[in-house]
Amino acid sequence: MAATHARPGRRPASASDQRTVMECRDLTVHFDTPNGRISAVNGISFDLQRGECLGIVGESGSGKSQTFLAILGLLASNGHASGSVKLHGEEILNVSRRRLDAIRGEKLAIVFQDSITGLTPHKRIGEQLSEVLTQHRGLGRGAARAKVLEMLELVRIPEAEKRYRMYPHEFSGGMRQRVMVAQALLCQPDVLIADEPTTALDVTVQAQILKLFKGLADHTNTALVMITHDLGVVAGLCDEVMVMYGGRVVEHAPVDELFYAPRHPYTRGLLACMPRADRDSEELTAIPGQPPDLEALPPGCAFAPRCPYAFGRCELERPILETAQPGHLKACHLEELP
């Protein structure tokens, strides 16, 4: 049973057949550069259920974004993906552009981090949004416009009528990000991927956008993937969390378990970095050392050079992702964290 290897298996296997929206197996991404091959993602597997919210946490370069760009067929031209990704049982990895176009924006939508460069600067917001509907639903101008205005109001954009005719540079950062979310939701996708949607925003605006996602996760059947480097974002929003390091999953667990009983030293390090109101700590801690060099990953555990508990075996043998307890996967040679 491959699925049990990949999934914590919180839900009964029989139900998963209808509830599972996406199955990703052994996804690998590499880039060919003049200096050699860079392995960005090394064999990632996970499932997504309807209405579930999965958090993907990791530093930049951990492969969290590239995983989903690969799934969407949006890798840079020197990037190559292998493995298998199924959407409702249908293979979507490395399929034809025509097939991808039918899926992207319709069943699979994404909200990117940078809304300043993520919207076409010389096209009115209204046009950019309504073309999603004309493309996938074949709506006429009037119908598309009505639907877009409805969606803009749903994401709480005031004066939607007026905004419809404006250009991206006339919007504030938070407003632009709402537009991006509205754009992604137009076709009520089965899976919505949010790639660090709040990183570029002010803290207060961040909270508003997260609230938007929260409402989405609670009230629709859309499966939400929240990619972030901020565990704080994950805490209030996600059901499950996958922690990535050096292009691999190092821990995968339900959100509460991950927070209260992390099984991987890296996760624990990340948790220690979180500023917390309930603990008056004098200093901000950081995980010492540098993220791994993806051109030359060590043969052992990629985190070993930075791991306070590393021992001989860690540098020689790469730990595989295994079940620590039902529903909780980890990739670490240590049975228990000290």
């Binding site: 969407l72 949006l74 031209s77 552009r97 025509r98 991808l100 176009d101 039918a102 899926i103 992207r104 924006g105 319709e106 939508a109 994404i110 990117f112 940078d114 460069t117 993520g118 919207l119 076409t120 600067p121 010389h122 096209k123 073309e131 999603v132 493309q135 996938h136 250009y167 540079h169 991006m180 754009q183």
Partner: protein, 307 residues
């Protein structure tokens, strides 16, 4: 938009004035005059001639007189072509140069953009290498080498096209001059288009457009093309200047009765009014076309328009 245009115009007029004053005083500053070559003329005849063209007066007064006439739309009489006024000569030359130049710029834009886009979309494939080699050749082989070679091949060897003459702008007379004139611009424009296209296609909003499920032609046409055209519009001014300077030489090579020929003849013979007339027309054209390029830019980029 209106204030945008009027602000540009406010810069354009002084520029034109600088051109007029600059070329006027430059020519008067040089030793010698238009009648030096006519050694057989009696001194008093020359004196009379000089007086007829106001050349006996102080330079500043000459300039005032010239400007006053210019404001009435009078470029004065030509010295070399004694029976013609400069206005009459321009009326002969201008249509030829405009037709030649406009055709060349349209051809250059058409082929340059097309080659650049095809090249960028097929980056690092053979078609990219072929188009870019052609562009590189057009870049390195100047028009005054291309033009004689073209006449040699198509005119003298293949006997397909006439090698000189205007013939009222008949198609077969236009082909070779237009190719020679457009080729360097095609080279630059195609490289510019390719670079701009590659740059734009790397942008995040292109990724967003693809993520929306738009087919590639809609991504390119709807989201890339406007941005791709911005550097091309910026280059339009220099391109027009290039076509104009090129046309001087091309008109010479193909014996076309355009402005360029009158300009060179005028300069060689110290025909002050003729040189002034041609330079003013060239400068006005360049300034106006630059203004047009600015307006197009403002139209394409909503951020500039508001500024």
């Amino acid at each position: 938009m209106f204030s945008f245009v009027s602000r540009r115009l406010a810069v354009a007029l002084p520029t034109l004035l600088v051109v007029i004053a600059g070329s006027f005083f430059l020519m008067r500053a040089a030793p010698g005059g238009p009648f030096d070559a006519d050694a057989q003329l009696e001194p008093e005849v020359i004196e009379n001639l000089r007086a007829a063209y106001d050349l006996d007066k102080p330079v500043t007064e000459q300039f005032m007189l010239y400007m006053a006439r210019l404001l009435r739309g009078d470029f004065g009489p030509s010295i070399t072509y004694a029976d013609y006024t400069v206005t009459e000569l321009l009326a002969i030359g201008l249509p030829v140069s405009v037709k030649l130049g406009l055709t060349a710029i349209v051809v250059a834009l058409l082929f340059g953009c097309l080659m650049g886009i095809i090249s960028a979309l097929n980056r690092n494939r053979w078609i990219d290498y072929v188009t870019m080699s052609i562009a590189m050749t057009g870049f390195a082989v100047p028009a005054f080498v291309v033009a004689p070679v073209l006449t040699l091949v198509f005119g003298l060897y293949l006997k397909l096209l006439p090698i000189s003459g205007w013939n009222d702008g008949a198609l077969q007379n236009m082909v070779l001059p237009v190719i020679a004139l457009a080729l360097p611009q095609i080279a630059i424009l195609s490289r510019l288009t390719r670079g701009s296209m590659l740059e734009v296609m790397r942008q995040n909003y292109i990724r967003t457009a693809r993520a929306k499920g738009l087919p590639e032609y809609k991504v390119v046409a709807g989201h890339a093309l406007k941005a791709v055209s911005l550097p091309l519009v910026s280059y339009l001014g220099p391109a027009i200047a290039g076509i104009m300077t090129g046309s001087v030489i091309i008109e010479q090579i193909f014996g076309l009765p355009g402005m360029g020929r009158y300009f060179i003849q005028g300069a060689l013979n110290r025909d002050y009014p003729l040189v002034m007339g041609t330079v003013i027309v060239y400068a006005t054209a360049i300034i106006l076309l630059n203004l047009l390029a600015d307006v197009i830019y403002g139209y394409l980029d909503p951020r500039v328009r508001r500024e």
